[in-house]
Amino acid sequence: MSWFHKLMPSRIRTEGGSKRTVPEGLWTKCKSCDAVLYRPELERNLLVCPKCSDHMPLTARRRLELLLDPGPKREIAAELEPEDPLRFKDVKRYRDRLAAAQKQTGENDALVAMVGGLKGQEVVCCAFEFGFLGGSMGSVVGEKFARAALESLRLRAPLISFAATGGARMQEGLLSLMQMAKTSAVLGRLAETGVPFISVLTHPTTGGVSASLGMLGDVNIAEPGALIGFAGPRVIEQTVREKLPEGFQRSEFLLQKGAIDMIVDRRNLRDEIATLLSLLTGGAQPKAVSGELVES
């Protein structure tokens, strides 16, 4: 406490200054442009900064809520919970990290999947929860994604995924790596069957998720300014020992290099995805799933 504070009579002394008069969380500062934003207005703007259009992170459930119609929804494989097959321990135990992440996010693991309507069309949608161990993909994420895709096959309903992830989950070792093969394989079935898959890459999408389901969309969409890539920028910088170009691995860079189809502002995403799906599914009816095909 400064000498000035000590001098002040206690009745005019306040803890934490004038902040106390403002209710908690009513104002948010934009990390990108430092603008002080009125929280309810920011929420109405889908957490996009009205001043600089920075796209702030959304929880998985909020994502689904924003995409899907307000009507009935059905969650897929909500009961799945992670295990600790390797009894992994670094400076913390994997079990403890899981428990903390579950408590903090209220989710069992880093993916939420639902069946719902998108402007009246039935769709299956899943979203990564970045707050859960960096949205990392382990066995539960892989299995949930696979079940969402299978549900999508069964219903002949388009699949939409929102990625926000650092990649494969180290604490489940090779099992996590195999989720890349698993999710890619099930998307192979979708592709064969002609059920559309829209992959939305949000900030950030890197590593094993980007190098599997993330880049396998019939249409790959990115939100503006998202970091998307295989290796993280720090690893690349250390490897090549040179400064990375401005905007490297951002959505705009990927669009220029031909890696994604389009960049869509979050506020237009719902409309854009609905339109794309109506175009993709407006042709001939999809074929039967290959499991039901007889070899001719």
Binding site: D90, L174, G207
Partner: protein, 319 residues
């Protein structure tokens, strides 16, 4: 320190040096040193047996990157009667970190694809230390489709620290190249046998590692991230690589237990580099057996089995 021996192999190196010295003396001296050499050789064998009876995951990880370890083209020489390398991805370049081509395995034509590392500095740079760029994966994919068209089995040899983390690699879509291979391999209508011969480094390994059978050499490793990488993220210090190697479960025996690997191919005492021909023979036997099994299936059965295997990967509670 002998650079061709790892830290924990130094006691072996010392004995080998002594034996070599005695041999040199023996050749220009009338003294009969054979007995002493014999004694040292027995001692060396015991020491090797001792060291190799209880290797830690970290030691195995070092062995998998042993400077003398046989690389893909060494095995290609030993395993195939003919090998015709095919180059290029047809859109950008020929990546030297992945080699592939048409080969004859025990009279049977196959397509072989593998990561390639270099032995000396010049070759290491030429091979980019076995770290492929997107064009490498796209070349591999092109060769796999070639195999599919002509109904040839695909055999892959995996030995990479990982996909190359470089600016150009990212610009040309490293993620997409890997993802595309995973999806294509999961439904490639021809038998695919994958064998990890050294380092199975993450997505860069998996990108030619999806198939009907996955084999590992005894002292190879297969991991979601390198022990050093894992340590620097979770421990905030790469020096904890030894602990990370244990925690990650990257060794062949552990992965066999987890059901992620079908067969572990034994290596001679001291590692594959002690007798590459013997290891190649064991790989060949393993492939022969697996190809005969896969030959029994129709394409439909083969693809259905591969798909079910891929979907079964994972350990979780509930549902």
């Amino acid at each position: 320190m002998n650079p061709n021996y790892l830290d924990f192999e130094q006691p072996i190196a010392e004995l080998q040096e002594k034996i070599d010295e005695l041999r040199n003396v023996g050749s220009d001296n009338a003294l009969n040193l054979e007995e002493e050499i014999q004694r040292l050789q027995t001692k060396m064998q015991q020491r090797i047996a001792n060291i190799f009876s209880d290797l830690s995951p970290w030691q195995i990880s070092q062995l998998s990157r042993h400077p003398l370890r046989p690389y893909t083209l060494d095995y290609v020489d030993l395993l195939f009667d003919e090998f015709h390398e095919l180059h290029g991805d047809r859109s950008f370049a020929d990546d030297h970190a992945i080699v592939g081509g048409l080969a004859r395995f025990r009279e049977r034509p196959v397509v072989v694809i593998g990561h390639q590392k270099g032995r000396d500095t010049k070759a290491k740079v030429f091979r980019n230390f076995g770290m492929p760029r997107p064009e490498g994966y796209r070349k591999a994919l092109r060769l796999m489709h070639l195999a599919e068209r002509f109904r040839l089995p695909v055999v892959t040899l995996i030995d990479t620290p990982g996909a190359y983390p470089g600016i150009g690699a990212e610009e040309r879509g490293q993620s997409e190249a890997i993802a595309r291979n995973l999806q294509a391999m999961s439904r490639l209508a021809t038998p695919v046998i994958c064998t990890i011969i050294g380092e199975g480094g993450s997505g860069g390994a998996l990108a030619i590692g999806v198939g009907d059978c996955v084999n590992m050499l005894q002292y190879s490793t297969y991991s979601v991230i390198s022990p050093e990488g894992c340590a620097s993220i979770l421990w905030k210090d790469a020096a904890n690589a030894e602990e990370a190697a244990s925690a990650l479960g990257i060794t062949s025996d552990r992965l066999l237990q987890l059901g992620l690997v079908d067969e572990v191919i034994p290596e001679p005492l001291g590692g594959a580099h002690k007798n590459p021909a013997e290891v190649a023979e064991s790989i060949g036997e393993c492939w022969q057996r697996q190809l005969e099994e896969l030959d029994q299936m129709t394409t439909q059965q083969l693809l259905e089995r591969r798909y079910r295997r891929l979907l079964s990967y994972g350990v979780y509670k509930g549902g």
